[in-house]
């Protein structure tokens, strides 16, 4: 079977060659079919992508240049975009995206460090491995509801703080704190997955190097810095990329349940803004403009990530 397919391919190539060089001469039928075949074969996939992805995307972008309410359907040029830039809420949302990027190393370091401890077999490491992964199976709504109770102004966390003499903190009501609280909860809820990836990475780590470092009397921080991090560089890059995607695309549920964008609009993210404008403010065209901006941001982030991953692959 394999052989005959290979033979066909060879014959096909042989047929093709005279066709190409034949100039104005008639192309043999087999060669034309051969040439069209790949297009026919990829056509379903391309059509699906064009019809279900690119076309709606273009419609959405097109829609963002039309007006809302009384101006529904009329072209308004870049009005919606100007309005977006003018809206302090949207600027807050973009700033929060920046904050997510800045906090990304922390979100990667936490599972990395915990995985290191598990790998180094701290007492009870088997238990921790299960416990750490557990939140990853909870839906954001459940996590949000749990932390709403925990972090309430008269909730248990503030009660515990009060017991050791620290003043209550309005975790979800203070605009300077709320975004960090939500990001913290998101990291708590999702780091289990990254932890598993790290543990998989550790299994490829050369144990002899670690032993050698230990024999030479290296301290734990030095082992982490000089042996573990270089050895895991590809895993770390991968976790960076997946964590970034997770932060940019799956915070909505938590925001919705925990803060609804508040207090003072301090926990808005672009996707939450899109949802509010479309649903509560009845401004679908403005929401489309915001979606387009979000799409462009994701495009840039995505291209950067692909290039990081590609470079990582090349090092391999």
């Amino acid at each position: 079977m394999v052989r005959s397919a290979a033979a066909e391919r060879t014959t096909g190539a042989r047929f093709e060659r005279p066709g190409r060089h034949g100039g104005t001469g008639g192309i043999p039928r087999g060669a034309r079919a051969e040439r069209l075949a790949p297009f026919v074969l990829v056509a379903p996939a391309v059509l699906i992508i064009v019809a279900l992805r690119l076309w709606p995307l273009l419609l959405g972008v097109n829609f963002s240049f039309t007006g809302d309410g009384e101006r529904n359907g009329t072209s308004v040029g870049f009005d919606n975009y100007a309005q977006l830039l003018d809206d302090p809420l949207f600027r807050t949302a973009l700033r929060n995206v920046g904050l997510l990027v800045v906090l990304l190393p922390v979100a990667v370091a936490i599972p990395g460090l915990l995985a290191t401890f598990i790998y180094l077999r701290v007492p009870g490491h088997r238990l921790f491995r299960g416990v750490y992964f557990f939140p990853a199976v909870l839906s954001p709504v459940i996590v949000g509801a749990i932390f709403n109770l925990m972090l309430g102004f008269d909730g248990p966390l503030n009660a515990a703080l009060g017991a050791i003499g620290l003043g209550p903190i309005d975790w979800l009501g203070d605009p300077g704190v709320a975004m960090f609280t939500v990001i913290g909860v998101h990291v708590w809820a999702t780091f289990g997955m990254a932890l598993v990836v790290f543990l998989a990475g550790f299994s490829t780590l050369d144990a002899a190097l670690l032993d050698a470092a230990r024999m030479d009397g290296a301290s734990l921080p030095r082992i982490i810095w000089h042996v573990i991090i270089p050895g895991l560089s590809r895993t770390i890059q991968f976790v960076f990329v997946t964590t970034m995607i997770g932060m940019l695309t799956s915070m909505f549920g938590l925001l919705y349940v925990m803060t609804s964008g508040g207090p003072e609009g301090s926990t808005y993210l672009p996707e939450f803004y899109v949802w509010i404008q479309q649903g509560r403010m009845n401004r679908p065209a403005l929401a489309s403009a915001a979606s387009t901006v979000l799409f462009l941001i994701m495009l840039v982030v995505g291209i950067l990530q692909v290039s990081v991953l590609r470079r990582a692959g090349r090092e391999d």
Partner: protein, 422 residues
Amino acid sequence: MKQRTLWSVVLATGLAVTGCGSAAPTQSSPGEPRSKIVVWDWKSGEPGVTSYIEKAKADFATKHPDVTVEFVAQPFDQYYTLLGAATQSGKGPDVMLFNGGGQIRDRVDGLLPLDQYVAEDKQRLAGWDAFSKDGTIYAAPVTLQGHPIYYNKSLYQKAGLDPANPPKTWDEFVSDCAAINKAAGAKCFALGNKEGFGIQFFMSGLGPGILTPKEYDDWIAGKRDWTSPHVKEIFSLWKKVNDDGLNNDGANSTALFNDAFALFNTGKSATVIGLMSDVGHWKDFGEFLGADQVGVMTAPVVTSGATSVLPYDGGIGYGVAKSTKDPELAADLVRSLTSTGALTAFYTGAGAITSDTTIDVSQGAPAVAAIVPQIKDGKPALHVALSSTTLDLMGRLSQQLLSGSVSVDEAVRQLAASDKVS
């Protein structure tokens, strides 16, 4: 390489051409009469309203036995998002439930004017204003929604005050609160402002005691003078109440629904500005505190010359989509949904104060008996007159006022600017 350039050119041209803007899909016009009417709401799934829906359906079936009515209960949190998306794509329902005020006024483009169909009901039902825009009616009111000030009678008693005689002026109110705090350790107000709704309740609940009758009427009529000292007083009082410790702690992270109401229910706060229908109303509170212990007071008078009236509007009401195939049929369903029989079932089942003024409530709880007689002289609530954009802004500014990151003057200035645009 060449291919890639070609593709990017194609893509760019596509974007440029379509970017010139085109019309959103518009609704198709009538065809053959349909024998099914689809109703969207967020109510019909609740146990308390089952008998209401059944009564309305039965009433409609006597008039149109061959038409089926399908109720689709959507989650309230996403109701307007779903409705917006469905309408945009031309797949919206024929009849739909709306909150009165901004939510329906923002969407009248797609709604059928109902004036000619509901003329007979105009006297019997109250609360039309919330479903009208520029004098045209777009939905028929089902419940009335307003903001009575509820108080806990047993806390008043504990503090040695007369629970049957609530304070009339703001000074009395504050001193009563101080007495209650001393005697029972309860805060004055239960406030939830996590979603920014607290300010809406505060503005509408206490507003009648702050604005003069003329200012009040002008405000409702759309002539809102944001430079008036009394309008500013609403926001400075909002801040002062919090600064003086009259609110529960952490109001900005307390959800109004239902954490703030829970504070009132458990006796941790003496007063709450609640609702008349749905939730956070006399029936909910009565279940915790005992129906006899729930009192209703009118807004304490802050400004001399202000008269306290019950602030209320049409709460929820049914409207008809412009795109419906048989407007008369759909309007008939709306009339069935607002018939006396159906609304009586709503009142007894869910404890809602309905729009029908002919329903007898004298056998109900003391709080209802206190609210219903005030309907006659009541006025529309202040916040309902504002657009949803301004309300959203007001929610955020109110949180900033509580945390001290914006001044009252600045907040009022921003609100005035937003109100002018919308």
